[in-house]
């Protein structure tokens, strides 16, 4: 009797295999988002280690620590991994986790498609890394891809790229791209269709707005890469002539196709950072964002213009002066909406009651560093200037300032900001500040001297260099900077591991923020919201906390 009558009160803790099953079979946007971010961070460590090996090799002139072949594979895998296996999944992870919470929805629009996208990305990444083992192919004459992350033709043709490394590059990136594409479709459908009552487009958080524009960019920019990759695969596997210069094929066409994807791609990567900064800055300045509409319009303008600037990567190949002029002008034009954004973030801070917790610190550094990146970007947009510095370390310095100084700093701001929501524990503030200052120092020490190295004429992608050209000191400084960055990353990893176990309990709303994700418990339950909220302004939690002075009276 008792055996039948007593309901099971205490839930048995899940066994390890149950846990694994729950993660592997999940369609929950929060679990998938977490898996995206975790995998992205693991790939980040991997690609960071590759970069560190390159820095060790370049620390002193005439170094023979790493062979030229290995060096080629290192920079190829470093770039490919950082863009496709760190940047894109980080973006997808943040968007997956946060967008339904911010919109007052219970999941993404297509949960199963979401899971499919994640696994496609993960196995795409594994396939790319399998090239270290299987890249030799039948001839045994290859390893991981060594053709650079933009895989310029004709280097990728069968004649010059023996073995299967390039094929792994194609198929792995296509699979990972499929993941990005599905999450873009999912984000668009979620944003359009699953907004909670009252969440009009004008009330939508800026994070969601920017990810919406971002997803649109993914939608139109990623398929061109896949198309070009299909052509390359036909060339390599079926003997096609697309990029075979011996048979009338054009190596230049690959460059166009690649950068039609590649330039929107850098905006695709920087948008999540913009999105995060747009959420963090107002909350830590205790002010609503300055010029909300202008921010949205600027984002759309960037999305629009960024599709017509690609050939500024190709000034040095000898296009017509009309093309050069067009792409130079378009590239400079994009500085206008970007400038609007930077000024609006500054105006949000201006007169605010600033709180310098780690998320805000990373945002402040983001503003300075991204500004520097933008300014060197304008310099490179001037075609004659670009002719001087094309393929030099100046370019490396420029795009690492956008992608590390911009994207990575933005994502760290986001991790410090949303970690309490995701885990229910605060990240340690003191360790966070140490991480910030050490990382900031290491980052600038690594990448600032690169600009000067570029002026001094050091070309990119050389595995070593001769002494006596004034390149020794900057190179040594950069390697020291890289080591300092590594220390900072270890500090961050330690902070995460420690805080998950021993962190201070966060509560639902540790930052006194205004968007809907802070209205549900930390960590959010599987269904997110017990009752679907109703929204009347762009700061629904402000309305809730200040019923005597709600925002919707003024909007």
């Amino acid at each position: 009797m008792s055996a039948i009558g007593t309901p099971v009160q205490k839930a048995r803790p899940f066994s390890l295999s149950d846990q694994l099953y729950l993660w592997a079979a999940t369609t929950d946007h929060k679990r998938l988002g977490l898996m995206y971010v975790t995998c992205s961070l693991i790939f980040f460590l991997l690609a960071g280690a590759q970069a560190f090996m390159m820095r060790l090799q370049l620390a002193v002139p005439n170094n023979h620590l790493i062979s030229p072949g290995l060096y080629n594979r290192l920079f190829t895998m470093h770039g490919t991994t950082m863009v496709f296996l760190v940047g894109m999944p980080m973006l997808a992870g943040f968007a997956n986790y946060l967008i339904p919470l911010m919109l007052g929805a219970r999941d993404m629009a297509f949960p199963r498609l979401n899971a499919f996208g994640f696994w496609a990305f993960l196995f795409g990444g594994l396939l790319l890394y399998y090239s270290y083992i299987g890249g030799g192919g039948l001839s045994g004459a290859g390893s991981a891809p060594d053709v650079g992350w933009f895989a310029y033709s004709p280097l990728t043709e069968k004649t010059f790229s023996r073995g299967s490394g390039t094929d792994y590059w194609i198929v792995g990136i296509m699979l990972a791209g499929l993941g990005s594409l599905t999450s873009a479709i999912n984000i668009i459908a979620t944003t359009i269709s699953l907004r909670c009552p009252g969440m009009t487009l004008s009330h939508m958080p800026l994070f969601v707005w920017l990810m919406l524009v971002d997803s649109w960019l993914i939608l139109i920019a990623l398929p061109p890469l896949n198309a070009a990759q299909i052509m390359l695969l036909i060339d390599r596997q079926l003997g096609g002539r697309f990029f075979d210069t011996q048979a009338g094929g054009s190596a230049l066409l690959w460059q166009h196709f690649f950068w039609i994807f590649g330039h929107p791609e850098v905006y695709i990567l920087i948008f999540p950072a913009f999105a995060t900064v747009s959420e963090v800055v107002p909350v830590f300045s205790r002010k609503p964002i300055f010029g909300r509409q202008a921010m949205v319009v600027a984002a759309i303008a960037i999305g629009f213009i960024s599709t017509s600037v690609w050939a500024h990567h190709m000034f040095a190949v000898g296009m017509t002066s009309y093309s050069n002029a067009f792409f130079a002008a378009a590239s400079m034009l994009i500085a206008v909406p970007t400038g609007i954004k930077i000024f609006n973030w500054l105006a949000t801070m201006y007169g605010g009651k600033l709180r310098f917790d780690p998320p805000m610190l990373f945002c402040c550094a983001f503003l300075f560093q991204f500004l520097v990146a933008g300014l060197t970007g304008i310099m490179l947009a001037v075609a004659p200037f670009d002719w001087q510095l094309h393929d030099s370390y100046f370019v490396i310095g420029h795009f690492h300032f956008t992608l590390v100084g911009g994207f990575v700093f933005g994502m760290f701001a986001g991790i410090y900001y949303w970690f309490p929501k995701v885990t229910g524990k605060m990240l340690d503030n003191r360790l966070g500040k140490i991480h910030f200052w050490v990382f900031c120092l290491g980052f600038n020490l690594t990448f600032l001297p690169m600009h000067f190295l570029g002026f001094l004429g050091m070309p990119r992608r050389v595995y070593t260099y001769a002494g006596g050209r004034g390149w020794e000191l900057p190179n040594m400084l950069e390697t020291i900077g890289a080591a300092i960055q590594a220390v900072a990353i270890l500090c961050f990893a330690w902070n995460v591991i420690r805080s998950i176990k021993h962190g201070k309990a966060a509560g639902d709303d540790p930052w006194d923020a205004w968007t809907l994700e802070w209205a549900c418990p930390s960590p959010p339950p599987e269904y997110n919201f017990e009752v679907i909220p109703v929204v009347r302004s762009s700061r629904p939690l402000w309305d809730l906390k200040h019923p005597q002075d709600p925002d919707w009276q003024y909007e």
């Binding site: 999912n186 699953l194 009552p197 920019a221 198309a227 036909i234 002539r241 066409l253």
Partner: protein, 196 residues
């Protein structure tokens, strides 16, 4: 008071169907994919260093084109029949759509057979071969995928599955089919009109 206002907001709240947003996004991505192949084809016109050249070997597939384009009409008739809940008529038009699509594929196959065995044009022969088989093949693969899904619906319907409960999904499938047909208009113009 806030409660009443909330209730009013909830009452009037409508958002678009997530399927519409999803399918349209998917079609945009597909269009971007095709556009690169089309640009590639146009760019490589007249760049082949050796024959066969397009004007020597290509024959305009008039009948296949008529069949594929009219299948956009027949799938529309099928949908309308479904809205009137006349399953028999739906099955008929749906089957006609499949037949037209299959005929198109068979014609493409015959064209390719002719090109490969008679004119010795393969994907490796010259730039024209690569771009031709690339573009037309990409389109044909989309027709194949479309046919596969159309066939699933037909089989389900014949086995008694109440397809009229799935009107929304069938509409989305028909959009995909219309898209594939539209792409053929572009491919046809580029390959058989401009390119010849």
């Amino acid at each position: 008071m806030a409660g009443t206002a909330d209730a009013l907001i909830v009452q009037d709240w409508r958002t678009p169907d997530r399927g519409i947003a999803g399918v349209l996004s998917f079609i945009v991505a597909e269009a971007a994919l095709f556009s690169i192949f089309v640009v590639g084809y146009l760019f490589y016109l007249g760049k082949s260093l050796n024959g066969p050249y397009p004007d020597q070997v290509l024959k305009t597939p008039v009948l296949a084109t008529i069949c594929l384009l009219s299948s956009s009409g027949t799938i529309l008739f099928a949908e309308r029949a479904l809205h009137r809940a006349s399953i028999g008529v739906f099955r008929l038009w749906w089957a006609v759509t499949i037949a037209l699509g299959a005929f198109f594929l068979i014609e493409t196959g015959r064209e390719w057979y002719e090109l490969i065995y008679h004119d010795h044009l393969t994907v490796a022969t010259n730039v024209f071969g690569s771009t031709f088989y690339g573009l037309v093949g990409l389109h044909a693969s989309h027709v194949t995928v479309g046919l596969f899904f159309l066939l699933i619906v037909l089989i389900a319907s014949l086995r008694g599955f109440p397809v009229d409960t799935q009107r929304r999904r069938i509409t989305f499938l028909s959009w995909y089919w219309h898209f594939v047909d539209t792409v053929w208009v572009v491919v046809f113009l580029v390959v058989y009109v401009i390119g010849k």
